[in-house]
Symmetry: C2
């Protein structure tokens, strides 16, 4: 019997998605950073997202619980950034062994609350469950938010000739930044107001895996100038492409807007680099490989 | 160091909830069956809920995956029923071992989709993650929905003198019904339109545990006529009170409305019993005990 590891994450998600029947009010279903549905205020849409952290996969059980909590919320917030929206209400599901220390859970919750409040959103509910002895902790965070209907950015809107930018510096996240990163909500909301974005996503599995996703969802190939990829200190190009958990933004922008964007960005965010790393093509191939697959053997 | 099992689920949730800061737009935060926030259409509010199933806790790994999927969705839907609302969009988080068979996951998803569509709602997104080898499967379902602002029913609205009803028959759910039950959405939505409900909740942990919750949240005691508790075939009173996973509705109604409710209910739902099982009191005690605590030793 074929198991999940023989398919890989991408194929698993693709197969499961075909089993779902869509109902009314759904503008964008599974496959983008958030689902987009009718809702929100006048001129708005509602964004929905769920995410999870598993002990031993996304964090080590000995990691500081406050940071694990920050990460659990920040990962979900990062997906709202990727759509050009803003999160509002969050739900937390905790599945923990009974032997888990109360202090650990309290610190976890403090970290979650701190991240939520830092971005003006609130944890409004949750669910706790036990897991069998010896099983890892699991934290799932679901969120609702809104975006201006005219400003929602999908992964699929890239066009041949668009230039590609990334925010920040990539690679080396496991040295600590994967627990403390800033979701790029402020930057993404500035971008949708100040630049004709064609496509955007957040980088969670590594540029080597995420860039091909954006390109293929947009029906494009891509060219990547590897030497232009901004790297964290002491990180090789290979690591910058494949380490994953960067939670930076990848965006596709009409080539004619690139210069103006670069200049406006520098004024607005002088301390955060925005780097031109390549372009989308009509058809293309790349020697990119690597990145993180959840079910690969 | 005190661990979760030494506190018990109730105390864990109570402590964590105090660590959260509320933001704007929240009408009802943690503690009820759903959170209630500003949103939805004119005259409506938005309901938010998350829930989860853990392998070995909420289902056996050898259970039919289609039924596990049905249960995962139906549990969340049951919480929308408990508020007098209706669910709309669902998000699914799967944390599964790589050794999980693809066919198992497909059947799981088919069961989830079947339940969602049976109640006019849609799975609009999800997240998949691996878990370490040997760890149990985990399925978290979050949902959004709406209720009429004037018809939302909380756990906390019960008043001394109210009479208590339950739908269906209690106990013995583990013989199979916990995987195939019908969330009482139709019944709850009829109730909010046809009866002045003071309080309502769905029974997940057993009447012996859930009734005291409803009473204490309402600032009341309660009297339970144990012999009036409707029991599944071959089930003792003790089992009916403590087995849990009934997913029936418990409601508190002004005593003067009881007769009219019973008669209208019989016409509307002739095959589903509605049983008067007791009343709320100004102060009260009970010999009730048992039910399911997630972190109890």
């Amino acid at each position: 019997m074929p198991d999940l590891s023989s398919f890989g994450e991408e194929a698993v998600v693709a197969r499961l998605t075909t089993l779902l029947e869509a109902g009314p009010g759904i503008l964008i279903g599974p496959g983008d950073d958030c689902a987009v549905v009718e809702g929100g205020g006048r001129g708005e849409v509602e964004l929905l997202k769920t995410d999870c952290l598993v002990g031993g996969v996304h964090f080590l059980e000995e990691a500081a619980p406050g940071k694990v909590g920050w990460k659990a919320i920040a990962r979900t917030l990062s997906d709202f950034a990727a759509m050009g929206g803003w999160p509002r209400h969050l739900l937390v599901t905790l599945a923990l062994p009974g032997s888990c220390e109360m202090r650990w859970v309290e610190q976890l919750y403090r970290g979650m609350n701190k991240c939520a409040r830092a971005f003006d959103c609130s944890i409004v509910g949750g669910e706790t469950s036990s897991v069998p002895a010896g099983a890892p902790s699991m934290i799932s965070v679901a969120g609702t938010g809104t975006a201006k209907r005219s400003q929602v950015v999908l992964r699929s809107g890239g066009r041949p000739g668009d230039v590609l930018f990334v925010t920040g510096r990539l690679g080396g996240s496991l040295r600590g930044r994967h627990l403390t990163f800033t979701p790029r909500l402020v930057e993404a909301n500035w971008l949708v107001r100040n630049c004709p974005l064609h496509a955007m996503m957040d980088l969670s599995d590594g540029l080597a895996r995420d860039l091909p996703r954006l390109a293929s969802t947009s029906g494009c190939g891509f060219l990547l100038e590897k030497d232009s990829v901004p790297r964290s200190r002491g990180i090789t190009v290979e690591e910058a492409l494949c380490d994953g958990e960067d939670y930076e933004l990848l965006l596709a922008v009409p080539a004619r807007s690139a210069k103006r964007l670069e200049s406006a960005w520098r004024k607005q965010f002088p301390r955060l680099p925005l780097s031109l790393i390549g372009s989308l093509t009509a058809e293309g191939e790349s020697d990119l490989s690597g990145g993180w697959d959840h079910f690969a053997g």
